[in-house]
């Protein structure tokens, strides 16, 4: 048993891999639905991606994780494009509340959507 542990340890050190620890962010299928939207833009892919953004928000809350950066804002922009300014502003606010770094850009988007 012991030799195996030694070998694993050596392999671990040499490979330079660090333990990433527990998952600290939930991105779901974000990259896939966004890629599909870029490959074949249209209502169907847009809906699917918006659905995924909402799913990421729900799952993150469920898992007690911070919603990933940009997710609220991106969903806000989709609502903006559908002329649902009220909802857009709501999501821009959530982005800024979650990430103080977003404050400046979100204020700009909010003032533009009024």
């Amino acid at each position: 048993m012991k030799p195996m542990i030694v070998i694993f340890f050596i392999a671990f050190v040499i490979s330079g891999c660090a333990a990433t620890g527990p998952q600290h962010m939930y991105w779901g299928k974000y990259s896939n639905t966004l890629y599909e939207l870029k490959k074949s833009p249209g209502e169907k892919a847009t809906r699917a991606h918006m659905e995924e953004l909402r799913e990421i928000i729900d799952k993150s809350k469920e898992k007690n994780l911070r919603v990933p950066p940009g997710v609220y804002a991106e969903l806000g922009q989709f609502y903006q494009m559908r002329n649902e300014s009220g909802k857009a502003v709501e999501y821009y606010r959530l982005e800024a509340e979650t990430y103080p770094e977003a404050q400046q850009l979100m204020s700009r988007l909010i003032s533009q959507s009024k």
């Binding site: 890629y35 990933p68 940009g70 922009q77």
Partner: protein, 228 residues
């Protein structure tokens, strides 16, 4: 000699042989001192600089970069939003803004750093009976406070799409053509992103932020990876 010693000896020899003469292992702090000095949080990813012949590469690439950067602990400005802002200003390619003073991006967005990505290759290659799909990316993270480069990496990812030559040359050519045509670039780009960002120091929103400065990293990095 015990079996364990043999294995360790073999391991040590193969490791030594596998190293190019100038390869060294530095701590992340030694490799990227500016990152630990400035501790950037808010990263603006600007449209990629397209040096490939594929016109759609920057747009497709944009779907791949937010997730790994955010997982590494950075606040990544919503790329779909910022890309739209740039587009409204007539900016479609990062090359158009590569001469803009970095501090402008702090004024406009509140960014601490700007990520420039050069798409150097986004190609399908054919040779006699084989083929591959290659994505090569150069990353350059620039400070909006000092204009200095904080982090720089290059990754070239090759996915082999050759047919099986045991089934005959013609069959292999056909298989290559199909496999190559079906291989998407985006999964290749994702691998290139992930291997590069794996050495990026953790940012504010990573649970191990500030604790990775003594992690070892290979310098120069193993920049070309092939999957066969």
């Amino acid at each position: 000699m015990s079996k364990l010693k043999q294995i360790i000896a073999l391991f040590a020899i193969s490791t030594l042989l596998g190293c190019a003469p100038n390869v060294q292992y530095l701590t992340k702090r030694q490799a990227y001192p500016n990152m630990y000095e400035e501790k950037p949080v808010a990263v603006l990813v600007v449209p990629a600089i397209n040096q490939s012949t594929a016109a759609d590469a920057p747009d497709l690439y944009a779907s791949t970069i937010a997730e790994p950067l955010a997982v590494a602990g950075y606040y990544v400005f919503p790329i779909e939003v910022t890309t739209r802002i740039f587009r409204n200003e007539g900016i479609h390619d990062g090359a158009q803004i590569s001469k803009v003073k970095p501090e402008k991006f702090r004024e406009m967005f509140g960014a601490d750093a700007v990520m420039f990505v050069n798409i150097e290759e986004w190609d399908t290659n054919y040779y006699v009976i084989g083929g591959n799909v290659t994505v090569a990316l150069k990353f350059n993270l620039v400070s909006t406070h000092t204009g200095a480069t904080l982090w720089q990496e290059y990754r070239r990812q090759v996915i082999n799409t050759s047919g099986n030559s045991n089934s005959g040359i013609l069959a292999a050519m056909i298989e290559t053509a199909i496999k190559t045509a079906m291989q998407d670039y985006v999964p290749v780009a994702r691998i290139a992103n992930n291997t590069a960002i794996a050495v990026l120091p953790f940012g504010k929103y990573h649970p191990l932020t500030g604790q990775d400065s003594e992690y070892k990293t290979r310098v120069p990095a193993d920049t070309t990876t092939s999957q066969y």
